[in-house]
């Protein structure tokens, strides 16, 4: 009798122990949601550091409604690991360099999923080129104004030794007043002091690479539109 009780008790404990393992443990999410922020099929380039540009994913049907934050990189791409399910994707309020649009995008995540978030940027900077000869150089680029009602607040020519550069993270940034900028093709002459010249040379010797990028800030936006990254050869 006693033996049976002990055996039964031991067996019950074992079952309880085993079943507990499945109940409160989840596998990690395995589906990937990838996407990009685009205008007319072209990626909209943004500031990529400091968690600046964010998207938010909500999933309804649960008690808590805190969003999952997605960070957008400087080329306008993003990706995140998720569980399969139905999500709602929204931008953050006045977060990016585009016309504020808080429309919800329904996303069905099943396996690897790709989406496109279409926005209307204030400006598009294309064909960036730059050159440097001794102390004098120039940066040229094309500004296309997408939103006709907006005006340019200022622009920047940004120089750095890595590809991750923007208005705040760089080795040197030259602010261009709005009066020097117009839609269409712009050429901005840059004159370096001898100190700047030697420090640029030192950076190039050390990292074998100098990256350049341009940005334009709309008076209505809290972030700038950026060009792609180009390399400066010394």
């Amino acid at each position: 009798m006693k033996k049976i009780i002990i055996k039964t008790a031991a067996f019950a404990t074992l079952i309880a122990g085993l079943s507990a393992c499945g109940y409160d443990n989840f596998n990690e999410p395995e589906s990937t949601l990838k996407g990009s922020i685009q205008y007319n099929g072209q990626n909209v380039r943004v500031k990529g550091t400091g968690n600046t540009i964010q998207l938010q994913l909500y999933q309804s049907g649960y008690e808590l409604k805190s969003p999952i934050t997605i960070y957008v990189d400087q080329d306008g791409n993003f990706s995140t690991k998720l569980f399969n399910g139905d999500y709602k994707l929204v931008t953050k309020d006045k977060n990016g360099p585009w016309v504020n649009n808080r429309d919800t995008i329904e996303v069905k995540v099943k396996g690897n999923t790709s989406i496109t978030v279409n926005v209307t940027p204030y400006f598009i900077i294309s064909n960036p080129t730059c050159s440097l000869n001794g102390s004098s150089g120039s940066a040229s680029f094309n500004i296309e104004q997408v939103v006709s009602s907006t005006t340019i607040s200022y622009g920047y020519v940004i120089v750095g030794h890595t590809s991750l550069i923007d208005e705040q993270n760089n080795d040197a940034a030259f602010q261009i007043p709005a009066s020097y900028l117009h839609t269409g093709s712009n050429t901005i002459p840059v004159t370096l002091t001898s100190e700047q010249q030697s420090s640029l040379k030192a950076l190039y010797d050390r990292y074998k690479k100098i990256s350049v990028r341009m940005s334009i800030r709309s008076t209505e936006a809290s972030e700038s539109n950026y060009s792609e990254i180009i390399n400066l050869t010394l």
């Binding site: 008690e63 805190s66 309020d93 006045k94 977060n95 208005e167 705040q168 940034a173 209505e220």
Partner: protein, 611 residues
């Protein structure tokens, strides 16, 4: 075996029976119910003391790092601070626990018979003032917040929760609530000064009313001057521009009342203007200036500010030199002899041809400035505890006919003179060394033993309101309402006490400047720049900006026997190496974010802009 089981059974029955006698049901002697507490005036006062102890929001004399977020001061302790952007929750207050405790106090006070109705009035006024102060601290960070009124909510079942949740009031309604509550508190309280200004009186309520009104007014005006004003569709953030003049009038009326009728006067009784300014803010005895402060006393309630920040030369314990003012602040103090009064000026360190500017003493450049600089910043050669503060980064020597800067270890000597002083400044990632070239003076306690780590420490108070704010508010409101003459009259009272030239006319920049130098380290500038929508302009994140980047100024002594400049001083200005990044205040920093946690608990809340 069976016998044993029976004994066990009987014993356990006995234990169960015994517990019914109340052996474990003792009444706790450290929990009092409302009737017990509010049946006695002394107990009521101790509840009130608890409320006073909980409202020191934001910068705090026990948190020296909190002084270093903007262009007033910077950390010197240890390695570089990569501070660059601001947190969405910086100085965010959401203290509904405090609001509830105030409401409980008010309810119990109304019910108690221990006090007559006449005796209850000042208590009611005090608590309503404290509740308004708490709301004000929430509103200036978050915009409009849910206004819970006087009701004390109690929980009976889950369905009740929906009844307590309230939507956010508009930003204007929220400021109105604070203003109305201050008005009510003003009428309930007495006007007598309190010991060390630690308790509020009717004038404290009046000056908070003035401050709330000037905040609302400037938000209404300057937010709507932005290209895209910051607002939500329900105006939880964003005060309509047409309300500005009404708020400016309210601010002016309240500030004038304080100036004309309150017992507080601008303290100006020491002929040494710099010392006078320090005494007006930092010395409690016979103070006529401070209207409300968080008071500290020994034993039991002391602050670590002096312990953390005292110069090494004066230290009573191990700690010193945690943080110090930056050049950005120091050069805001205007030169005494200037053609442009009411405006800061850089220090001249180099001539046009690149040669050094020589000064006769290490304090000469600073002695010629607004005496408030002396009262605010301990600069090279400034007197503290009766001796001059040594700040010497190194020597300027003549080597082969070339001026050369030499630096050494702390406390080192060369050429029969000090090379680098024991305080610094020095380029280092060590602790306990000066790095900006300046120390705090405001809030640094001169009394002996004030910088002990344990024991006496400092009993320096933390002033929330000073009478000079009534003048700056009256000045700003008059200016915005178009009366330049009145504005000049008010600002010159403040400037006269400070010991600088009178202004004959006033601009908006003069007001920004006066607030910056008068209230440095007093938790004004952060909010002033926000309400004027200047933060994103000044702290623009541009690494090449001399405003957004912290800068330092280091003194070097000229040691070149035989040279005409021997014994003189030169200064070297530089970007502050401890802060490699510029301050970057983004548009989203104008309002704290509404926490997702709060949104989960209250479905009626709406998010702030940029969130």
């Amino acid at each position: 075996m069976r016998k044993f089981t029976n004994i066990l059974l009987i014993a356990s029955f006995m234990v169960m029976l015994g517990s019914c006698k109340g052996f474990l049901d003792q009444k706790p002697d450290n929990i009092y119910n409302s009737d017990e507490v509010f049946g006695d005036e002394v107990m009521i006062k101790s509840v009130l003391a608890n409320l006073y102890g909980r409202v020191n929001y934001g910068i705090n004399l026990n948190d020296s790092y909190s002084f270093t977020y903007i262009d007033e001061a910077a950390k010197m302790d240890g390695g570089p601070d990569n501070l660059h952007t601001y947190s969405d929750a910086l100085w965010r207050v959401y203290d509904y626990g405090f609001v509830r405790n105030c409401n409980q106090f008010l309810q119990s006070l109304a019910e108690t018979r221990a006090l007559t109705d006449e005796q209850k009035k000042p208590y009611e006024g005090e608590v309503r003032f404290l509740r308004a102060w708490c709301y004000f601290n929430m509103i200036r960070g978050l915009g409009g917040v849910p206004l819970m009124g006087d009701e004390v909510y109690s929980y009976n079942r889950p369905e009740d929760v929906l009844a307590y949740t309230k939507a956010r009031a508009t930003e204007a309604e929220s400021y109105n609530y604070v203003i109305d509550e201050c008005e009510a508190a003003y009428n309930l309280m007495k006007g007598d000064k309190t010991t060390h200004s630690a308790r509020a009186n009717k004038w404290t309520a009046r000056i908070l009313e003035a401050r709330a009104a000037i905040y609302a007014a400037s938000l209404a005006k300057y937010n709507n001057l932005l290209t895209t004003p910051i607002q939500t569709s329900g105006h939880e953030v964003g005060i309509p521009a047409e309300l500005a003049s009404e708020y400016y009038n309210m601010a002016l009326t309240a500030a004038k009342d304080v100036i004309e009728n309150s017992p507080y006067v601008i303290q100006d009784n020491d002929p040494d203007k710099g010392k006078n300014f320090y005494n007006a803010i930092c010395i409690k005895d016979n103070n006529t200036e401070v209207m409300w402060a968080h008071d500290y006393y020994y034993p039991g309630s002391t602050v670590s500010f002096s312990n953390a920040n005292i110069p090494s030369q004066y230290k009573d314990d191990i700690d010193n030199s945690y943080a110090g003012p930056v050049l950005n602040l120091v050069e805001m103090f205007e030169p005494l002899d200037t053609d442009e009064p009411g405006k800061g000026a850089p220090f001249k360190t180099k001539n046009a041809d690149g040669s050094y500017v020589f000064y006769n003493s290490c304090s000469e450049p600073f002695d010629d400035r607004d005496p408030r600089l002396y009262g605010t910043v301990l600069y090279p050669g400034g007197t503290f505890r009766g001796t001059a503060c040594e700040l010497q980064a190194g020597q300027l020597n003549l080597v082969n006919g070339q001026w050369t800067l030499n630096v050494g270890e702390l406390g080192s000597r060369a050429n029969d003179d000090i090379l680098t002083s024991m305080n610094g400044p020095k380029h280092s990632n060590q602790q306990y060394v000066n790095k900006t070239g300046f120390f705090f003076r405001k809030f640094l306690d001169e009394s002996p033993g004030s910088s002990m780590r344990n024991g006496a420490r400092s009993t320096m108070w933390w002033p929330y309101f000073r009478i000079s704010e009534a003048y700056t508010i009256a000045c700003e409101a008059s200016f915005e309402l178009g009366s330049n003459a009145d504005a000049v009259k008010y600002i010159n009272v403040v400037r006269k006490r400070a010991g600088v030239q009178d202004l004959s006319a006033i601009t908006f920049e003069n007001i920004v400047h006066e607030n910056a130098v008068e209230f440095a380290f007093e938790f004004h500038r952060w909010w002033d720049l926000k309400r004027w929508r200047l933060s994103h302009v000044i702290f623009d994140g541009d690494a090449t900006s001399s405003i957004a980047r912290n800068r330092c100024l280091w003194p070097y002594k000229v040691v070149a026997p035989g040279n005409e400049h021997n014994g003189q001083w030169v200064f070297v200005e530089d970007e502050y190496f401890m802060y490699p990044n510029a301050h970057y205040f983004q548009m989203r920093n104008y309002y704290n974010f509404i926490s997702d946690d709060w949104m989960n608990k209250n479905r009626l809340l709406v998010r702030n802009p940029y969130q």
